[in-house]
Amino acid sequence: MNENLFTSFITPVILGLPLVTLIVLFPSLLFPTSNRLVSNRFVTLQQWMLQLVSKQMMSIHNSKGQTWTLMLMSLILFIGSTNLLGLLPHSFTPTTQLSMNLGMAIPLWAGAVITGFRNKTKTSLAHFLPQGTPTPLIPMLVIIETISLFIQPMALAVRLTANITAGHLLIHLIGGATLALMSISTTTALITFTILILLTILEFAVAMIQAYVFTLLVSLYLHDNT
């Protein structure tokens, strides 16, 4: 059982070729582009959703921060669609791999921080010291703030990995438990099945929320630095 539990997290390789590339590229097929004013229902729905999200998320930024709109919108679309596709049976979710989440988090965080240091050096350095701290505490607080700054990309990546992986593992475990209990006691199996249904609903929510949180935090780091 132990080996079976984690086999769904191995990166798919077929005959030595990385199949994972195709799986990562697959969500792009689900977002067709259209140059028309009035397009089909699918594209209209996506455009409406994208407009809603971009207005909600980018309205807090000034014009310099709003140049990041394309990046942040594609980020939330990618993470959201990848997480939701991972809820389908037997599929592989690229966001369960820490390597990929680090690859997304570190460049974005670094970009935001370096933009802040280059353009508004004094303000970004001032973030290291909250207002109104008593003078003896200053050295320690600067150290703590520096640590908390450098932990941001790690936290972004690990948060996403851990949430999605934990959700998938729970679904595997409870599903296996339901199946095993079916022959022993049907009532318990029904209870476990209800738990499974609730968990799946939670996972749908988590899939989308994690995308939102990731993007929101990157946008927050951006706001601090523009």
């Binding site: 199949l19 697959f26 689900l30 229902r41 596709l85 049976p89 037997h90 599929s91």
Partner: protein, 88 residues
């Protein structure tokens, strides 16, 4: 009698069974040819099921069902052990 259509330009359903191997060999297997085949296939599906006035959920769900099926085929080797049997 109508002029004979050359083998290369016939569609698949018009090719006679004996001519099938030579028809397959005449197809364009260059990278741009294969890319063109994928593009034609994609647009054929898209224009039939998605890019219509009253598109339904079927257009999307067929794609997702095919995705699930392909992933099942990919992980069949590990799943063979999970079949219903008395002792695992």
């Amino acid at each position: 009698m109508a002029s004979v259509v050359p083998l290369k330009e016939k569609k698949l359903l018009e090719v006679k069974l004996g001519e099938l191997p030579s028809w397959i060999l005449m197809r364009d297997f260059t990278p741009s040819g294969i890319a063109g085949a994928f593009q034609r296939g994609y647009y054929r599906y898209y224009n039939k099921y998605v890019n219509v006035k009253k598109g339904s959920i079927a257009g999307l769900s067929m794609v997702l069902a095919a995705y699930v099926f392909l992933n099942y085929c990919r992980s069949y080797k590990e799943l063979k052990h999970e079949r219903l049997r008395k002792y695992h």
